[in-house]
Structures are given as structure tokens and as C-alpha cells.
């Protein structure tokens, strides 16, 4: 499992390279929580570009962090092109709350959106 954190304005980009199951999701959650403690931002992007497998544990991990961004007045987005991984999110209707993009660039437009930053 590999994780990378990047900060872009108010967004923390969490890039995960792993098969996200219950075991890995717990590890990711701990690392993200530590990072959020230091982070002065509001929004999160889950970059799942290198996630080759995910089960429903991934849904819980994303929703848990989405609640954090809501409390901060921020947004959460997912970057994913793997059809199976997307299908898992679709089953839970998650994309209605947390949009999914093909690239980090598009996701950043949503999480760091100018109009949106002016509102808050």
C-alpha cells in the first residue's frame, strides 16, 4: 500500500495505490486522519487512479472523510477511471454527494471552485 498527500489551496489530495479492502481502508483512514490534523484546509480529493480493486470498505472510508469536509464547509471529490471501482460507488449512490472525475485537475475545479471559495 502506498499513499501520497499533496496540498493545493484548500484541498488535500490523497493518492492511494492499493487494493482497498477493510484491512487497507483502516490503514488509510489512520494516515488520512493524521494528515487532516495538520491540515488547514477544507476539502479532500480521493485520487483512486492507482486503485486496482475496491470492495464496499472503500465507501465507508470516503463517507467518513466527506463528513469532515462538510463540517469544515468544504467539498469531497473522487478521481477514478476503473469501471469496477466506480460500480461499487454507484451501488451506494455515493456520486450524488461526492462527484467522480477522470482527472485531478477537474476535481480541483470542483473542490477549490472560485465561486465556492467566495461563498465561504
Amino acid at each position: 500500500m502506498k499513499m501520497k498527500f499533496q496540498k493545493k489551496e484548500l484541498t488535500l489530495i490523497v493518492s492511494i495505490s492499493a487494493e482497498v479492502d477493510h484491512h487497507i481502508a483502516e490503514e488509510c483512514r489512520e494516515k488520512i486522519e493524521k494528515e487532516l490534523d495538520k491540515f488547514q484546509g477544507k476539502s479532500i480529493i480521493f485520487d483512486f487512479s492507482d486503485v486496482t480493486f475496491m470492495d464496499s470498505s472503500g465507501i465507508g472510508m470516503v463517507i467518513g472523510r466527506y463528513k469532515y469536509t462538510l463540517a469544515q464547509g468544504g467539498r469531497t471529490a473522487i478521481v477514478c477511471r476503473n469501471e469496477k471501482v466506480k460500480q461499487i460507488f454507484q451501488l451506494s449512490a455515493l456520486f450524488q454527494l461526492i462527484p467522480c472525475y477522470d482527472t485531478i485537475g477537474e476535481a480541483l475545479k470542483y473542490t477549490n471552485q472560485e465561486g465556492f471559495l467566495n461563498e465561504i
Binding site: 477493510h22 480493486f53 464496499s56 470498505s57 472510508m61 469496477k84
Partner: protein, 145 residues
């Protein structure tokens, strides 16, 4: 039931064995030349069932999870068994979004994922005795496509 081929895994109920169980089943099933998509479906379903045995069945206590996989022609049978706490209300447990462990960030989508990715899902459970999750999937051999 006679299978053309079968295997049974007995694994400790440790979360690091979730990956091992699904990869082992995928390797076994690959004898049938499944498509990449079919293998992904099977791996996901096994991952869900084994995870449930570990976190719900055994409440993360150390015990043994059994994973059976067999095939007959192009039909794959998978059974995941635990001797854990059992499920009181199976209908409720199978509802999308129902979870008894929201504090663990469970989404309640495990059974829904198994149902969606496999052709059949059958759950048998007795309180205090354990749970058996049985799934089947027909493999449309790669060579036929």
C-alpha cells in the same frame, strides 16, 4: 454435489487474510478462463464475505474462516463459513445500507455488492452457531467470446 474440481481454505480471521482469500479463489477460478471482469467480480464478492466473517461473525476475535470454492462445468460455487455470532434477521442484514457497525465506518453495502457481482446469493445463519454465505456465478469462457 460432485464438482469437477474444488478447494477449501482455512484461514485465521485476521484482516490481512482478506487479500489472500480473494487472490487464492481468483487463482483457482482462473482454470476456467474467466474474463478480467468476471475475476474482478468474484474477488470483490469473496472479499465482502470474508470481511463479514472476520468483523461481524467473529467480532475481530481470532478464529477460523472457511472458504470453499468448486466448479462444475462453467458454474463456480463459493461458500464462506464462520462459526461466529450468527445473524438474527437475515432480511434486514441484506438490505442495502443496513449495518450493525456504523462506528467502524461500514457502509452496509456488502451483501448488495455480493448480489450484484454474483448470479446467486444465499445466506444461512443461526444465532450463536455461525453463518454460511453461498454464491454462484456462471463463467462465460474467454475463448467463447
Amino acid at each position: 454435489m460432485k464438482y469437477d474440481n474444488e478447494m477449501t481454505l482455512q484461514i485465521a480471521s485476521k484482516s490481512q487474510n482478506e487479500a489472500f482469500a480473494r487472490v487464492a479463489v481468483a487463482a483457482f477460478v482462473s482454470q476456467l478462463n474467466p474474463t478480467v471482469s468476471e475475476i474482478a467480480d468474484i474477488k470483490t464478492a469473496v472479499s465482502e464475505a470474508v470481511t463479514n466473517a472476520i468483523i461481524h461473525g467473529y467480532d475481530q476475535k481470532e478464529d477460523i474462516v472457511e472458504v470453499f470454492c468448486g466448479y462444475c462445468g462453467d458454474i463456480v460455487y463459493i461458500e464462506v463459513r464462520d462459526n461466529g455470532r450468527g445473524i438474527e434477521d437475515i432480511m434486514q442484514a441484506r438490505q442495502p445500507l443496513y449495518t450493525s457497525k456504523p462506528e467502524m465506518e461500514r457502509s452496509g453495502m456488502g451483501f448488495t455488492v455480493m448480489e450484484t457481482f454474483m448470479d446467486e446469493l444465499n445466506v444461512e445463519s443461526q444465532l450463536g452457531i455461525g453463518t454460511k454465505v453461498r454464491m454462484t456465478k456462471k463463467i462465460k469462457c474467454d475463448s467463447d467470446l
